[in-house]
Structures are given as C-alpha cells and as structure tokens.
C-alpha cells in the first residue's frame, strides 16, 4: 500500500516536472533547434554566405574539418658544409636546417609551418593546413585557462570580503558590478584607449612617469604583451560575474555551521576548507561552466583590440564568415567550439562531483 502510494507520488512528480520543463523546451526549441541544426548540417558543405542564385552548395563530408585541423610532422634535414658537418649560423650560433617551406608537402594540400621543435637530436617541423586556426585554438585555450583561473580566484576573494562584516559593504556590493555593467564593446574600447602606444595612453603615461619605460610600449602589437593584455582586460570585466555568483553561493551556507565551528575554535582558514569550500562547490561549478563557456567563445575583446593580429576561435570564425564568406568552414568552426565547450563542461561536472542526480 505504502509502496503504491509512493510510486503514485513519483508519477505525479514526473508529470509535474514535464509540465514545468515544457516552457523552457518550447522557447529553446523555437529559437535554437533550427539554427543549431543548420550550423551542424552546413558544416559538412561548401556553402558560401550570401552566395547568390548561381552559387551551388555541395556536400563535402568532413573536408571543412580536415582543412581546419589537418597537420603533419616532417623532419628537417640539416644544411651541410662542404666537409659534411652541419652548417652553423654565424650570427645566432644555431645549427642551420633546411627551410620548412621546402620540406612541407604542397600536394594535394599545402601545409604551412606552425612551429618547430627538437626531438632526439632531430629537427621536426609541424605543418598545418590552417595554422591560423590552430593558433586560434591555442590562444583561446591559454586565454581561457588564465583568465578563468584569475577571475575565480579574485572573484572568490572579493566575494569573501563582501560577505564579511564591515561598513561600506553596500557600496562595495554595488561598485563590484560596475565593470560587468559597462557594455562589452565599449569596455574593449576603453581598454584599447588606455593601452594606446605612446604617452597618449594611460599605461604608457604611468610607466613613463614611474621611470619604467620610454612611454612607447605597444601592448597590442608586441607578441609578448598581447596575451597578458587580453587577460587583464577580461579579468577586469568579468571578475564581478564570478564574484556575484560565488557570493550568492556563500549566502546559502547556513551561518550556524560557522557559529558551531567558532565554538570549536576552528581557525578561519580551516573553516574555509572544511565548511565554505565544500558547500560552495555546486555554485562554483556552475559559475565556472558558464564563465568557461564565455571565455571559449571570447569575441569582442579580441575583435576590437587585436583584429587580425591574433585570433580567438570566435573572432577567426567571424573573419571566415563575414570577410571570407566561407559559411561551411565557419559552421565547422562553430561545431569545433561546441565540442570544446562540451568537453570542458563535462570535466567540470566530474571534477566538482556535482553531476549526481
């Protein structure tokens, strides 16, 4: 009898759940199903964006994926002197190898040099069919790891400070959202302005005044400064997002737990690791997932600040779609980004142990 009742209860809950989920699925079905399906199908074709009437679209299988991701390794033969020893560059003192362009295959597809490395005394060159995209993947991953890590750390820190008791708490709670509230496209412009090469820009002026530079550093053109600049901009902009989500998570932790811990005389740091962190995990996991999802799709900052000097996956995607009108290729890039995000999401859920039903 009791069993029957509970199964009835379960059934009722199940039907209620379906009813409650229905609006979400209707809305998402309406706006998402067709565009997503379209992207997926288009990624297997050579469709051109705004191709016009006389343009035919053909099914090309995985060609777009191969042309984006294809790579090869080749050994570079050393350049020899007349006496058979390897030639040494007089300026750099490095041994000289054959130029990569002569070694990498050109038929049926051309491979361009991506990078070189030494392997057991041999010089190996990595050739890629599309080095720009492979670099974009690498850039995006580095950007994502660095910025999400720093944002989480800083966000957690700010959230803990705001969550503690002090005057001006309300003021800090409000100001902490200001960076996130500045319109993304415009905040990229603010930073571009601050990072201007020459004393016209804030950072150069500051470094110059502090006697740390000639006031001519170009943050956005020199290869060494590009990525740190991007990370700095993104950390400023999105730390509030993390801080707010973490703060909301902190709020759900019952105060009694801390009171009890205080009675036990547990140190603050220990309290953090034994109470705060474990209970914060679900909120943290969700914050991380959505933050990572945005970071992997980062677009505005790269587009505004770096243009075609350095691509992220999404800005390369935009370039292929709008400038080159390669819709098939652009869709394949979309699917690849999708897969990256999916992998990250699953990893987070597993690591944080929050995907139990």
């Amino acid at each position: 009898m009791a069993k029957k009742q509970s199964s009835l209860l379960l059934k009722r809950q199940q039907s209620l759940a379906i009813k409650l989920l229905l609006p979400t699925f209707i809305v998402l079905g309406l706006v998402a199903i067709y565009p997503l399906g379209d992207v997926f199908v288009t990624s297997f074709t050579d469709r051109e964006f705004a191709g016009g009437e006389d343009n035919t679209t053909d099914f090309v299988g995985f060609q777009n994926y191969f042309s984006l991701l294809g790579f090869t390794f080749k050994e570079l033969p050393p350049v020899l002197n007349d006496d058979g020893t390897q030639k040494i560059d007089e300026k750099t003192g490095e041994p000289v190898y054959e130029r990569a362009i002569r070694v990498l295959p050109r038929d049926p597809y051309r491979y361009r040099e991506l990078s070189q490395f030494n392997w057991f005394g041999k010089r190996i060159v990595v050739g890629a069919r599309n080095p720009d995209f492979l670099k974009a993947i690498w850039n995006t991953l580095v950007f994502t790891v660095l910025s999400v890590f720093l944002e989480t750390l800083l966000g957690l820190f700010i959230a803990l400070v705001v969550n503690s008791n002090f005057k001006a708490k309300g003021a800090l709670r409000t100001t902490m959202l200001v960076p996130w509230a500045v319109i993304t496209v415009v905040s990229a412009r603010i930073w571009e302005w601050m990072l201007q090469p020459g004393n016209i820009g804030f950072f150069n002026m500051l470094l110059f005044r502090l006697g740390l530079g000639d006031g001519q550093a170009s943050f956005l053109t020199s290869a060494a400064l590009q990525m740190p600049s991007m990370v700095m901009v993104d950390v400023w902009k999105t730390t509030p997002y993390m801080a707010l989500l973490i703060l909301a998570g902190l709020q759900t932790i019952p105060k009694e737990l801390y009171e009890a811990a205080n009675v036990d005389g547990a140190h603050k740091v220990r309290q953090f690791f034994s109470i705060t962190f474990p209970l914060l995990r679900p909120a943290l996991a969700v914050a991380l997932i959505f933050r990572t999802l945005d970071a992997l799709r980062v677009f505005d900052v790269f587009q505004v600040l770096l243009g075609s000097k350095m691509y992220s996956m999404a800005s390369y995607n935009y370039f292929q779609l709008i400038q080159n009108r390669q819709m098939g290729l652009a869709s394949a890039i979309g699917v690849i980004i999708f897969i990256f995000i999916a992998v990250f999401a699953v990893i987070y859920m597993r690591l944080m142990g929050v995907d139990k039903e």
Partner: protein, 423 residues
Amino acid sequence: MKKFLLVLTLVTFLLSVSFGAVTLTVAAGAVGIELELAQQAAEEFMALYPGVEVKVLETPDLATDRLGLYLQFFEAKSSEVDVYQIDVIWPGDLAQHLVDLYQYGGHDYAGNHFPAIIENNTVDGKLIGIPWFTDAGLLYYRTDLLEKYGYDHPPATWDELEEMAKTVQAGEKANNPDFWGFVFQGNAYEGLTCDALEWVASNGGGTIINTDKQITIANSKAAEILEQVRGWIGTIAPEGVLGFAEEDARKVFQGGNALFMRNWPYAWSLGQSDDSAVKGLFGACPLPAGDSGKGAAALGGWQLAVSKYSKNPALAAQLAFYLANYENQKKRAIIGSYNPTIMSLYQDPDVLEATPIFGSLYDVFINATARPSTASAPRYNEVSTLFFQAVHSVISGEEEAMTALENLALDLEEVTGFEVIWE
C-alpha cells in the same frame, strides 16, 4: 535610347504607384552630418516623385560590421533595402546581388565621374555602383617645422622624407620627447593594405594582382621598399605605429607630435579646426615617389548600388543617380567635405571657396591607384588580409621581405587560382 529608358522608368514608376505608395530604403552612412545630408536629398527626391517615400537607414560606422549586415540581407534575399552604400572594395564581391546600373540609364552619368572609380565599379562590363564620394591617400606635412629646419618644399621621394624626418625629429625631440618624424597606418588591417599598396606601387612594384589576374607581388622592388619601411619603425616612426589606424595617426599629428603623416583628406578640415594644435601650420601634398618616379595614392570612397532583390530597381536606380548627382555632391562637398567624384566639381568656384584644398586634390584623385578588389573578387578580403599580414610581419621585423612576399604569392595563388609572375 535615353527616351526609351525614361519612359520605361516612368512606366514602372506609375505601375508601382498604382499599387499603392512605393517605399525605397537607402542603407547609408551613420548619424551626424552624413545622415542629415542624405535625408535632405531624400526629401528633395520625394518632392520630385510624389507617391514615393524614401527612408534613410543608418548603418554601423565600422565597415566590417556594415558588410556583415549587408551580407545578412543578401543571404535572406531581402527586399527591405533598395539602395546600398558600398565601399570601393566591395563591387566585385557583391556584384552577384546588385543590378547593372547601365540597364537603368547609367551611361548618362558614368562619364562625369573619375574614370578610375568607374573602372573599379565595373564588373564584367556591368556598372555595379555609381560613385558617391571618393578618397585617396595624402601626405600631410608641418610647414612651420620644414621652414625652421631650412626645407622649402615637402618631400618628393621616400628617401627625402626619411632624411627630413630624421633631421627634424632629432632637433624636436630635445623639447618634446613624444615627437616623431612620420606616422601612418601600420596596424594589421585594411588601412595597411592601402598604405603598403602606395609604397609598393610608387616604387614600381605593381599592385599585388594586376588587371590581367596575375599575381605580381613577389618582386624585388616591393621587397626593397618594405625593407625601407621596416627601417623607419623605431627610428622616424614610433614602434606603436604598428598598431595605428587612421584616427591614431591623426591624434599624434593633430596634437603637434609628428612632422609627416599619411592620411585621407578628412584629416585636413579636422586639423584646421579651432582646437587643433597644428591649425594653420600644415599642408598636404601627393605622397612621395619611389623608384617609379611617381607617387601613388590608394583609392578609397563609397558608391551607391541597387539591390537585385529590390521590388522597384528602376526607381531605386533613379534615386541612386539622384543622390550622386552634381548638385548633391556639391552640397556634400561644401557642408561635409565629402570629396566629389564628378570631375567638373573640382573647378566649381563654390566648392573651391569652401575647401580650397580640393583644387590640388584633383590630380591625386584622377591618378589614384585602386586596390585589386575587382580583379580578385569574390576573394578580395582574403587577398587583402594575406597581404597586410605579410606586410605587417615584414615591417615589424618578424620576417625577411622577399621570403614573406614569396610565401604571400603562394598563398594568393592558392586562394585565387591566378598565375604567379615570378621575377
């Protein structure tokens, strides 16, 4: 023929009117004077053609965003927009979505405009856009500083420019550590394609891809001038110039911190405004020459084109012709300093009075060098991106010029399928 066309236009017009009021939409520039001028002209057109309503639609200021929006319309074969304002590099790429204006009486107008632009806008014998306003690269120079250091004329060659810039910069840096000899557009973007095309063409290195669809960029003249430009970075030009676009260069020059600047004509009137630090202290002239003995100026500017998906293409074409006619271009030149594309306007006393510099610009405009956009269509954007990336890597010292240009030629061959002319 002319009469027939007129009748045709009138008939289509009457037909469409009898089915209710006709609305024409023009996708034009952004807000500000540009929009006001377009709206005024639209109202005058409505007065001429009662029953027609003309709507002017602002579009984003950034050319890439604007292109993205247009492509979205074309992809959807949308009839919402009838007349598009298009960049000088787009006619080839967008030709498949635009009507041939020769079919709607374009022959009557084409002859009045600069031939170089008409040639640029002609794709497979079809007139894709009617020129609206034009642009070309100029050299701006500080008259006071040249005089101070004993020069009585602006530089005629790049070598001369380099020498003057070195002397003046060495003298001025003592008082002003932010002073530089020469600023230009060195960021990796379309603007660098223009600047580099000017360097290469002026040195006799061709125009990347010639009109016979051959890739000509891999040559020693081109390599030579790019190596020379690389030598400027950090010496007569700031390192930061590798990230400069038009407005960055103008800020440096207008703030009184540069001797020379390569820029478009727009910088003239802004530099002469009251709050400019260099008001009355600078001049503009054609860009210096290299080994070819002639300077080259990249052609810029915007055209009006009619969408194939328009419901009233004939009427829309009339609107495009109307907006780009003598009177309207004159008004735009006087009020907004838009450079006319109609040759005779450069002798118009009213125009010359409002903007005296127009007189001396005539030669620059008529000889302007078009980017190879029509020859390489519909792959121009890819061609240009590969070109400015290669140039950027050379002038920033990452790659040796000849190697970069040879690689570029191979890349271009792959993208366009054209033959490479090796030197």
